[in-house]
């Protein structure tokens, strides 16, 4: 028995068996075709644009500002620094438009060591002449490389290096405070057993200067470090190893048990070099920052990144690739500079506002770009119309 089909039914039938076109078929008689209205519109409008407006909202969940922390005390505040640095205060991810950035979001401290240390060649060339004297080193990074701060590392106290005593090391702290008037970070040697004693003494001789003491961490006697920072009026670095919960717990202990005030805590959740765990570090910092912004009061503190560890990456320091299959690695001077800066860019966007760096060029590049993103550098405007043919190459 035959059945009559409407055209629509034929089409549906064909669609069901996934036939997209018919060949050699003719229809006889009248065919009524219904045309979708939107297709008609399209015909009309094909020669003119459909004007539209773009709009997007802000993020409501970011309810909580990052604590504002000031490092360095000027004479007005009982110290001798020429200026103080304030970080934090933002209520959005870095450089986002959701809220105004209160303070510069990228402050760079350049590393100074209290004894000569092995450095990548591209970095060494900048400091070769001052390595024997921490004060000269500090002066150089301030006057020639325009560091916002310096990070003084008391590595000579490491029992595996010179095993210098806490009082020997604190002498260097005094010298450096004399030599430069920028705010300083005082860091131990990373030896958990000895650091508390070293930092305690260093905190004492720098009383009232509101230095950043690095660090309190779960593996050292953080109560002692915190007590010293409190007693002598400093800011404390809360350092954990790439674990958001460990960071939360340490911050909580510092506030609740050690009585550190909220405006005196900076976190270092550990950051890694480009290609060497930066993916993990980036997300860890970003999660911490998002938690802080959305109201976690144990995580809304400014964050520091030791971006100078980019120099551990072989891509930053090696003269050429050890693997013959790799394409040419080019000049290490250029590679190293961009490696440290790129590491910094990622962490600056994740939520770090304070950076320890080594290469003056990397520091300058990071600062320049982040200042632009922050809106404080206004260059001449670039005209992009016809840019394809206008490149100067």
């Amino acid at each position: 028995m035959s059945k009559e089909l409407t055209l629509a039914e034929v089409i549906e039938l064909l669609n069901n068996v996934e036939v997209e076109a018919l060949e050699g078929v003719t229809f006889e008689g009248d065919i009524e075709i219904e045309i979708d209205e939107s297709v008609m519109n399209f015909r009309e409008e094909a020669n003119k644009l459909i004007e539209s407006r773009f709009a997007v909202g802000t993020v409501n969940e970011w309810t909580t500002a990052i604590e504002e922390v000031t490092i360095g005390a000027t004479p007005a505040n009982g110290g001798s620094r020429g200026h103080a640095v304030t970080v934090g205060g933002e209520k959005a991810l870095p450089y986002y438009f959701d809220s105004e950035m209160k303070n510069p979001t990228c402050v760079v401290a350049i590393d100074v060591f209290d004894m000569p240390i092995q450095l990548a060649k591209s970095v060494r060339t900048s400091y070769e002449d001052v390595m024997e004297s921490p004060s000269d080193w500090a002066k150089k990074v301030v006057s020639e490389y325009h560091a916002d701060m310096i990070a003084l590392h008391l590595i000579s106290t490491d029992p595996k290096r010179k095993d210098a005593s806490a009082s020997e090391a604190s002498k260097t702290v005094e010298d450096v405070l004399q030599a430069v008037d920028v705010p300083i970070i005082i860091s131990g040697s990373g030896t958990h057993k000895k650091d508390p004693e070293v930092l305690e003494k260093a905190a004492e001789v720098s009383e009232g200067e509101r230095c950043l003491i690095a660090s309190a961490n779960p593996d050292n006697d953080y109560e002692r470090v915190a007590a010293a920072a409190n007693k002598y009026g400093h800011v404390l670095l809360s350092w954990t190893q790439l674990e958001i919960n460990a960071q939360k717990e340490l911050n909580r202990k510092l506030i609740k048990h050690c009585g550190v005030s909220r405006d005196r805590i900076v976190m270092d959740p550990t950051t890694a070099a480009l290609g060497y765990g930066l993916d993990y570090a980036y997300s860890n910092v970003e999660r911490i920052r998002l938690a802080g912004l959305t109201g976690d009061k144990e995580l809304n503190f400014p964050t520091l990144s030791v971006s100078s560890n980019a120099w551990n990456a072989r891509e930053a320091w090696m003269i050429s690739s050890p693997l013959k299959e790799d394409s040419n690695w080019g000049e290490r001077e250029h590679r190293g500079l961009i490696w440290e800066a790129a590491t910094g860019f990622a962490l600056a966007l994740a939520g770090c506002e304070l950076f320890m760096m080594m290469h003056p060029g990397s520091a300058q590049l990071l600062k320049k770009i982040t200042r632009m993103l922050g809106g404080s550098i206004n260059e001449e405007k670039t005209d992009l119309s016809n840019w394809i043919t206008k490149l100067i190459i």
């Binding site: 998002l290 490696w339 800066a341």
Partner: protein, 464 residues
């Protein structure tokens, strides 16, 4: 994705647990769909119910449209993201890196540059990082010149190409010689959109819409193209290389992606393109400009560019770019670990050294490649440090004498039987474990170099 729990997805599946998709149950398959490690086509049963299939496909489509360019092995996928922050799932489809050539280049120089771009590679965690695309840039001389340049490029390289000109006749000339290779058209603007949209339709190729920092006109173009039936769209809101304009560029990228993902504004949920190459509009001093360009590349790789147009092919720029891309697109759900165990490198004998390292994939592959390329036959033990590098693992006590012993015990590696020397080599960064390890394992412990690239030299001095 509109569905984000396996249970929601399960409702649309056949619920017969036939196992044809490679998963034991439909529920297991549903979780693989949610984490995007399987595609719905993998369920053949569902394929038979076209309506349900399409319905689910729509619900599972990524928030940002995913498009493809190029053909064959080097075909690329662009876009397809579902989250604003990588830890929320992962970012999909690594930023496509396109480097330019231009139609006034001398043939020899052109071929050399194309080859450099196509052949660049850098070993990283067991694979090579490469570049993806060649952008042929018209200098405005003539359509014929552009055409022959495109022809040459596609002859020399299998990489997908991007045809760059604001002049539709130039674009058409390019398309005539490479449309079958699915190039990307750059770009349609408010001025040329009519002709360029016709080209996109006629040749079925993806097209970039460009507006100078103006998101209203970008959306106007996107909506209009969509109405014309063109959906393989990429958005270029204009990349300004410096100053306050850079700030607004950065904000535009965030606005576009937020609109697409957080607010599900479908009309604008397309892949985004950045053009750090514009750094070369303000300067041409090679080194500082390459730094600025690489800096912009980093910034926009992190914040949302799905495809990127660049100029410098200096190694320092390329290396930082491929590494930053890897950083952002590494799947945070799969830790970068290799299985712990004792591996043979080359053909070790009883006299060959036994070297230890962590099971952090990056460390392991770095050491492994240094050993292989130094032609050192040995055993390499990857100790279970939870995927943490040696230095951090020593500090965090994931790399300890006990852990090292455990690795050899589990592998059934008996030093007395497998070696003539009863000696193990520790990484230089784990030197402080020496005494402990001697006590725990009762074998001789040597301290190797700090960086594994020094192993060959170290071997010459310390291993006879």
């Amino acid at each position: 994705m509109k569905l984000n729990s396996p249970l929601q997805v399960y409702k649309y599946l056949p619920k017969i647990n036939c196992g044809k998709c490679g998963e034991k149950t439909c529920m297991a398959f549903a979780s693989r769909l949610v984490d995007r490690s399987k595609k719905i086509e993998d369920c053949q049963i569902l394929l038979q119910d076209k309506e349900k299939f399409l319905q689910l496909a729509e619900l599972l489509a990524p928030e940002i449209r995913e498009i493809t360019a190029g053909v064959g092995d080097r075909k690329v996928r662009i876009g397809g993201d579902d989250v604003l922050h990588r830890h929320q799932l992962t970012f999909f489809n690594p930023t496509v890196l396109a480097y330019d050539v231009w139609d006034t280049m001398e043939e020899v120089a052109l071929i050399e540059r194309v080859k450099k771009i196509s052949e660049f590679k850098k070993f990283y965690v067991g694979h090579y990082l490469k570049l993806d695309m060649i952008a042929v840039r018209s200098t405005g001389e003539s359509a014929a010149k552009f055409k022959s340049c495109v022809e040459k490029v596609t002859e020399v390289s299998t990489l997908p190409v991007m045809l760059c000109s604001f002049d539709p006749t130039v674009l058409k000339a390019g398309l005539e010689v490479c449309a079958d290779k699915k190039p990307v058209l750059y770009a349609a603007t408010k001025d040329n959109w009519e002709q360029v949209s016709k080209l996109a339709l006629e040749y079925h190729v993806p097209v970039v819409l460009f507006s100078e920092g103006d998101l209203d006109s970008l959306k106007t173009l996107a909506v209009s193209f969509n109405r014309l039936g063109i959906n393989d769209i990429i958005l270029d809101p204009g990349t300004y290389p410096e100053g306050a304009q850079l700030k607004s560029t950065f904000e535009n990228f965030i606005k576009l992606r937020r609109a697409g993902i957080k607010e599900s504004q479908k009309e604008i949920a397309y892949p985004i393109m950045a053009a750090p190459i514009t750094a070369w509009m303000i300067d041409n001093d090679p080194t500082p400009t390459s730094y600025l360009e690489a800096a912009l590349a980093s910034i926009f790789m992190i914040k949302y560019a799905d495809i990127m147009l660049l100029h410098s092919i200096e190694p320092h720029a390329l290396l930082s770019e491929v590494y930053m891309r890897e950083t952002m697109y590494t799947d945070p759900r799969t830790p970068l670990k290799v299985d712990s165990g004792v591996y043979k490198i080359g053909n070790p004998t009883k006299d060959s050294p036994v070297i230890t390292t962590s099971n952090f994939a990056l460390t392991y592959y770095t050491v492994e490649s240094d050993l292989s390329s130094g032609r050192i036959d040995c055993y390499l033990a990857s100790v279970n440090t939870d995927g943490i590098g040696v230095e951090a693992a020593v500090a965090g006590r994931q790399f300890t004498a006990a852990k090292i012993k455990e690795t050899f015990d589990e592998a059934g590696f008996d030093f007395k039987e497998k070696t003539s020397h009863n000696t193990i080599i520790l990484p230089g960064l784990a030197a402080r474990l020496q005494g402990d390890l001697e006590d725990v394992m009762g074998i001789k412990v040597l301290i190797g170099p700090v960086d594994s690239n020094q192993i060959p030299g170290w071997m010459d001095k310390n291993w006879l």
